[in-house]
């Protein structure tokens, strides 16, 4: 119970008026940057970092982490209302969140998103509180083969468990992988597919692609169909919130599963995005009604949000314990820590107890305060839907363009975003799913690097992916998931061996 005592000490550090005010300020700023597509957590934290230089480290990190929580909550708002994911891991939230908003259940979807974010973070914080020392040694077990196995698992679960036609998923994923290869190849140090262009050196930024694929293409589709955002802002009241909460226990399996996936992937760097997709796909797989997914099922919001936030929170653990940032925002927080003279690493937990436990306590408090804050402001955000489309659409396009530009301060990215808008429109028309494309764009590079580093290390021997229990079981699980539809069928037909196997084709 040493952890408990230390946590109480952390709360004692936090519970001053000054810190609480900073927390509120951070949350409000965070929600604000989260709502603007493309700005998001990392940029928000980066812009506001210099404000904190004159503060003491604990106040500064409390404020910054609250900006982070605020941005996480805020990201869900645009995903659900406008189908524009603010952060990479909000992509899966749009699958069911946006249809819900279209059916006039925006308030319900937002409440579900906020609540599940809260639950996911809470589970991860509990994990951090009590298992911190053990988890940091678990993360050290991850070398290139293990990383590759995790990425493979994500890709395979997408193909094997996805609802869309398998060949379309594979086409979409392959295109994403191809585009992920543009730019500098870190393993050989050579440029690929840049065709002598200085603009393509940077590669294709994932967020630019996402803003175009989801945001711009949605505007194009809406313009084509009719000039109105489909869906009305429902009457939002405490009643809606309470009714969502009343239904919550029904989905405990989904919530628990997603929290588990989130925590597990969160402590392996870069896992938050993979987690939200995996949480969504597994919820669909084990649902009694997989067909209803993508058409506005509340579980489709619960699953990815819980997983994304569990992993977003758990991602802070390797940052603190090992100095490996698990996400873009964590990387900037890492930079902040260094400015305040705190070096993340194994000794941080020993030498700066006040700071570490203050931060962990702020995760609890920040989440509770954040949940209350966003729920009370839901009506304001949902009322955006009542504004006529002709007025909202230009604003969305402008805010998309600002978002795309500000990621790398490059005019070229705005053209790229518009290009992706057209690609997204065409994909939606011919029924190619966008999610595998974006997933490949995010994880493609890392998966490739991990694979090639494994191959360099093993001298080209594929057996390295089964060289120990950890990597072996992840790789095997990945392959099982890839062929899941076939395996599922095989088991099914074994059950009725006496009948002619008509399902074989």
């Amino acid at each position: 119970m040493e952890a408990f005592g230390l946590l109480m000490h952390g709360f004692a550090v936090l519970l001053t008026w000054k810190t609480l005010v900073l927390m509120m300020v951070g949350l409000v700023l965070g929600i604000f940057v989260g709502v603007l597509p493309g700005l998001g957590g990392p940029n928000g934290v980066a812009i506001l970092l210099p404000l904190t230089f004159s503060m003491d480290p604990t106040s500064a990190i409390v404020m910054l982490s609250c900006i982070y929580w605020g941005a996480l909550f805020g990201g869900a708002i645009t995903s659900i209302l406008f189908n524009i994911p603010g952060e990479a891991w909000s992509v899966a939230t749009t699958f069911d969140g946006y249809p819900m908003a279209q059916q006039g259940r925006a308030a319900e979807a937002l409440t579900a998103a906020f609540t599940s974010s809260f639950i996911g973070s809470l589970v991860a914080v509990l994990l951090i509180t009590f298992l911190a020392p053990m988890i940091s040694s678990f993360a050290l077990k991850f070398g290139p083969p293990e990383f590759f196995a995790v990425y493979l698992l994500t890709f395979c679960s997408f193909v094997g468990l996805g609802r869309e036609a398998k060949h379309k998923t594979v086409i979409s994923m392959s295109l994403g992988l191809l585009l992920a290869g543009v730019g500098m190849d870190t393993v050989s140090g050579q440029l690929r597919m840049t065709f002598g262009s200085g603009e393509l050196l940077r590669g294709i930024n994932f967020l630019v692609a996402v803003i175009g694929l989801f945001g711009i293409s949605e505007i194009l589709l809406t313009m084509e169909e009719r000039l109105a955002l489909r869906g009305h802002a429902a009457a939002i009241s405490l009643r809606v919130v309470l009714s969502v909460w009343k239904d919550l226990p029904k989905y405990w399996v989904t919530l628990l599963r997603s929290s588990f996936i989130g925590c597990w992937l969160g402590i392996t760097p870069g896992g938050a995005i993979a987690a939200s997709f995996m949480g969504y796909n597994l919820a669909k797989r084990f649902s009694k009604d997989p067909e209803g997914f993508g058409k506005g099922r509340i579980e489709g919001v619960f699953a990815p949000e819980t997983a994304a936030h569990a992993s977003g929170t758990a991602a802070l653990l390797p940052m603190l314990a090992l100095g490996i940032p698990g996400s873009g925002t964590a990387a900037i927080l890492l930079g902040g820590l260094m400015v305040w003279g705190l070096n993340p690493g194994p000794l941080l937990f020993v030498e700066h107890k006040d700071f570490v436990w203050g931060l962990i306590a702020s995760m609890y408090l920040g989440n509770v305060v954040g949940l209350v804050l966003v729920l009370t402001t839901v009506p304001i955000f949902a009322s955006i839907l009542r504004v006529p489309f002709a007025a909202v659409a230009p604003m969305i396009v402008v805010s998309c363009a600002i978002g795309a530009y500000s990621i790398q301060n490059a005019m070229f990215d705005i053209w790229l975003m518009l290009g992706f808008g057209v690609v997204g429109y065409v994909f939606k028309k011919i029924g190619i799913p966008l999610a595998p494309f974006t997933l490949a764009l995010v994880l493609g590079n890392r998966a490739e690097d991990a694979f090639r580093l494994s191959m360099i290390g093993s001298g080209g021997d594929m057996k390295v992916f089964w060289s120990n229990g950890l990597v072996g079981s992840i790789t095997t699980l990945a392959i099982v998931l890839l062929f899941w539809p076939v395996i599922d069928k095989a088991f099914g037909s074994m059950g009725r061996l006496w009948r002619p196997a008509k399902a074989a084709g």
């Binding site: 980066a46 970092l49 210099p50 230089f53 004159s54 993360a139 050290l140 077990k141 991850f142 070398g143 290139p144 730019g183 500098m184 190849d185 870190t186 393993v187 050989s188 140090g189 050579q190 440029l191 200085g198 050196l201 940077r202 590669g203 090992l322 100095g323 490996i324 940032p325 873009g328 990387a331 900037i332 890492l334 930079g335 902040g336 260094m338 400015v339 070096n343 993340p344 690493g345 194994p346 000794l347 941080l348 790398q408 301060n409 690097d449 580093l453 360099i456 290390g457 001298g459």
Partner: protein, 328 residues
Amino acid sequence: MQNILKAAAALTGLLASAPAIAAWEPTKPVEIVVAAGAGGASDQMARMMQAAIQKNNLMKQPMVVSLKGGASGAEALIYMKSSEGDPNKVLIAYSLIYMLPLSAKIPFNWRELTPVSVVALDQFVLWDNAAGPKTVKEFIAAAKAASSPFKMGGTGSKREDHVLTVFMEQKTGAKFSYLPYKSGGEAATQLVGNHSESNVNNPSENLEVWRAGQVRALCVFDKERISYKTKVTETQSWNDIPTCKEEGLDIQYLMLRAMFLPGKVTPEQQAFYVDLFQKVTQTAEYKDYMEKQALKPIFLTGNDMLKFLEEDDALNKSLMTEAGFVAK
């Protein structure tokens, strides 16, 4: 008291370079361009400078850190090159300015930028896992005896770490598989997790795992030992690390950390930044940072800097050619 000191400092500065200061100063926020990812050594240094400038009121305009680490830092170089005549951008450069144009044929030449000052030199240290061989000799012997080549972690391909690895192979006859990770931090944790046998990280990149007793510093790639004698780990200071030459491995390499403005800025603008960074090197923040990260303090500007850059360029070019990393 502090204000009096500041006023005195400002006055001295004014007297020393009165025409320059009166002539020009930034009128909008200054962007400090980092050619690496978040949390890396360049980023940390940029944020230290940002804090030092802000805390000591060295400049009226704020300074913002702008990360342009895309394409292994090439993004920052192209960005600086295309910002010709813009005095509100300053690049924090390291040896990539020589190496990247050679290995990846990036259309860039540092002579197109305006040099401001060299602010530090960074060391390279040979590290192994705390459970691994205890001296350079034992390490080399173990590497030679190993059935599969020892894995050497590093940052990027065909860059400083890779060059050092190739030279270690040439000098000792041992074979290494070089694993190019995305950052020095990753190379550090992969060494701790035993996924590689060694790395040649800068001191700052391995500092925390060294203090935690998870890695061992075998030798430093410099002519002389690092000067800082304060204990960093339980038993060792930076000064206790032998040079590689002392240990029979005659390889030396130091990396510059230097500030550049875009090309075609006026001499007044250049003078402002020379003065600014000179003041930065006198702040407590800078001195503290240098010692903590075991950097070698240096301040070169004007012709001294140009001479240094030309020599350093020639050296890096010959190293890259010898290692076979120059693209044809």
